[in-house]
């Protein structure tokens, strides 16, 4: 089941009605857990057992870590739990890749294991690790009842494609009853509608143009390819942030806060700023559970650069088992490290711009960061090194080819540019979403207009969320 189906609307309607009349906390958790497992099973029932088993194991390990807190056993249990999670992820996500490349390197006959990737595995295993680490570091208490851990790891709004919510942010929300309030419903429905617009109107329409060019880049001229590459960046942003908005909106309707996952990433001034605005839940997870445990910036400059490089590289690899994702990770690792080095030099030399020069340098930084970000997404989309090479070679030369300027790409670029400009000037570069007061008729009209336009202009085609493949 995905969010953009009538079946899901029915599912949510029933769930909200049931939750509305259920005041007991434990009963609410049971209902939400059942709903989450039904949601997951409707997507792919085959791995429901694994989700359940992993969640139960994490609960048990959490209890053990808490019991042996301060001793070597706690650390061993943490390591064991993380190892199980990473091994599970490794088997399902990376084993095929390793087997294929191993057989290629050693000239063996091609081995393809055809392992099916369980839905949401990259997301919920990271939440599982988050729980164990937070218990170990005493950021959360080990839960006495497995119910809360089952719900935390399997919570349906974010299980398929995130946001990755840390246990210290989610578990406290389970200690109080969740009322279905008008305010949460209003906020949640509007957030969902914005996400739906981004996904169905913008991302899916851009995908038509992007797919055409990326499937045969050798046929298109450099202008068409450049436009397709920029369009893909926008498509990915609208697809993923659209999904995140829908997930956050659904959770809010149920009274849960999943945080923010995107904050106008195209206003980023540098690679670090970009990752504080793009897929925030993932980057903050890597910061808290990889970068900081490696030592962060507390072990000298060279070690900081190394930690940053490794963190960004792993972040790239998380996205998928392919050389293109590894390259993507390396690109970001290099960019982030170079920026860190550059920042340190600036700090050391006390170089600082002020006033109008500061604003100008800020604007230039945003443009440069965008110009660097866009090509980084080429291997992400191209799927293989050969296509990546063709795209780059044709982007920067001027070969002849099909001249294809997608009118929707131009329209949406202008729209997103306007939104970012308004946010930059009037909202301190922060997300512009402000829920309307739907108790007033005029805002009801605005909301209805938004929904009706989304319905009319939605591209009803392939609605598979890009990030659900991770």
């Amino acid at each position: 089941m995905n969010f953009m189906t009538l079946g899901f609307v029915l599912f949510m309607a029933v769930l909200l009605i049931v939750m509305r009349f259920c005041k007991n906390i434990r009963a609410q958790h049971i209902i939400l857990l059942i709903a989450s497992y039904v949601f997951y099973a409707l997507g792919d029932w085959r791995f429901l057992g694994m989700l359940f088993a992993i969640s139960l194991l994490m609960w048990a390990l959490g209890r053990g870590i808490s019991k042996y807190s301060g001793t070597g056993k706690a650390k061993a249990l943490l390591a064991a739990g993380v190892a199980v999670d990473l091994l599970t992820l490794g088997i399902f996500k990376y084993l095929d890749f390793f087997a294929e490349n191993f057989s290629r390197i050693f000239g063996m006959s091609h081995v393809t294991l055809k392992i099916i990737l369980p839905i949401g595995i990259s997301f919920y295993l990271f939440q599982a690790i988050s729980y164990l680490a937070d218990v170990y570091h005493k950021r959360v208490e080990a839960q006495a009842s497995p119910l809360k851990i089952l719900l935390y790891i399997g919570f349906f709004p974010q299980i398929v494609s995130g946001p990755i919510v840390k246990s210290k942010d989610f578990l406290p929300q389970l200690s109080k009853a969740h009322a279905i309030t008008r305010k949460n419903l209003s906020w949640g429905v509007q957030k969902f509608a914005v996400g739906l617009f981004k996904k169905a109107v913008i991302a899916d329409r851009l995908a038509v143009a992007v797919d055409a060019v990326f499937s045969a880049p050798a046929a298109y001229d450099s202008v068409s390819i450049t436009l397709a590459v920029i369009s893909y960046t926008l498509e990915l942003y609208c697809d993923f942030s659209g999904y995140s908005d829908m997930a956050i909106g659904v959770a809010k309707m149920l009274g849960f806060d999943l945080g923010i996952n995107f904050n106008l990433p195209f206003l980023a001034k540098n690679p670090s700023d970009f990752w504080r605005r793009w897929h925030i839940s993932l980057s903050s997870w890597f910061r808290d559970y990889v970068y900081i445990p490696l030592g962060g910036n507390r072990r000298g400059r060279l070690r900081t650069y190394f930690n940053l490089f490794v963190t960004m590289l792993l972040s790239g690899i998380w996205h998928g088992a392919s050389w293109t994702f590894i390259i993507w990770g390396v690109c970001w690792a290099v960019a982030s490290t170079l920026h860190k080095i550059f920042s340190d030099i600036r700090k050391h030399l006390k170089i600082q711009s002020k006033g109008a020069l500061s604003k100008l340098s800020g604007a230039v930084s945003i443009l440069i960061t965008f110009a660097v970000t866009v090509p980084f997404f080429v291997p992400f989309r191209a799927g293989n090194l050969s296509t990546t090479g063709v795209i780059f070679s044709r982007m920067f030369t001027s070969p002849n080819g099909i001249h294809y300027i997608s009118v929707y790409a131009v329209i949406f670029m202008v729209l997103l540019f306007a939104v970012n400009l308004i946010a930059a000037i009037f909202n301190k570069k922060d997300d512009l979403f402000r829920p309307l007061d739907l108790s007033k008729w005029r805002w009801k009209l605005v909301f209805c207009l938004f929904v009706v336009f989304t319905f009319c202009f939605a591209y009803i085609g392939n609605t598979a969320f890009i990030y659900s493949q991770f």
Partner: protein, 338 residues
Amino acid sequence: MKRFFSQSLQWLSALMLAVLICNGVLFFYNRPTAFIDRTKASTNTIFYPGSTMLHGTEGHGYYTADRNGYLNPDLPRAKKYAVLVGASHTQGEEVSAGERYADVLNSRLSDGSSLAAYVCAQDGLFLPKIIQNFRAVTEEFRDAQAIVIETGHTQYSSDELEKAMVQKEFDEKYLGANIAARMSGKEKLTIKVKEAFPFYTIAKNQITAYKAKGHEQSETGDVDIKDYSEKMNRALALIRSEWKKPLIIMYHPTVSVNPDGTMTAQKEKTDDAFKKLCADNGIDFVNTGSVFEKAYRENYTVPYGFSDTSMGAGHLNADGHRLVADALYGKLKEVLAQ
């Protein structure tokens, strides 16, 4: 209770006004016109004569239906003219007036005061249905010098070809002008309301597309060439027997833009058999595939696709229409000069 009722009323009125506003916007984006069903005639539907339509979901076109309910300029037919029978590609809503292959042919074949190429087309009027309606076409256009049949495929199922053999009769009362004259005030009002409410058509299309998602038709499977040849031969022989004057079948295959940068016209399993059957039955066969490929090699012209969709798929664009006109021009000039 009072608050609930008041809020519900507010939501309903807001929704209605939103739909009206959206409808207004759609007037400038996509405004199809209502069509009228009919039985004993060349096509199974026609547009309401005099109605206008704006097409914007794929390409862009603005047209007015003529007195017969087809999409032709408001000009009389020439003394010697060819009737172009086909589906949406011949209708050509996706391109501007003047860019359709019918219009390009008219600009070359006539002096501008009459139509040398007359469009008789309808969405979904594929070859089997054209064959089924062929007797009616010959009756409606008995004064035409030639009939050109447009098709985007040569492969059709046995069932379709069998059904095509049952010919529809022609009745003058089903001519567009006659249907319009007989329509009641209520029927005319229904059409006007549908035309004024493009939101209804867009909503219907979105719902249809949503229901069809996941049930996309797969490629046509294996074909028994022997069985196909036998049935298609019967069908072509039938239409040949019903029309003694020049008969041309114009086949515009789909194309594929390939990863290596080339573009190839797709070949169906039945193409060779179909070509031979046309020759056997004295039907001129024009395959625009090689014309498409040549134009691509010369300057990367792609005959299908638009800037609001993607290249290489969908309907004929202005370049595609021009290439089709180029392919037909020589033959039609010769036929109309006889």
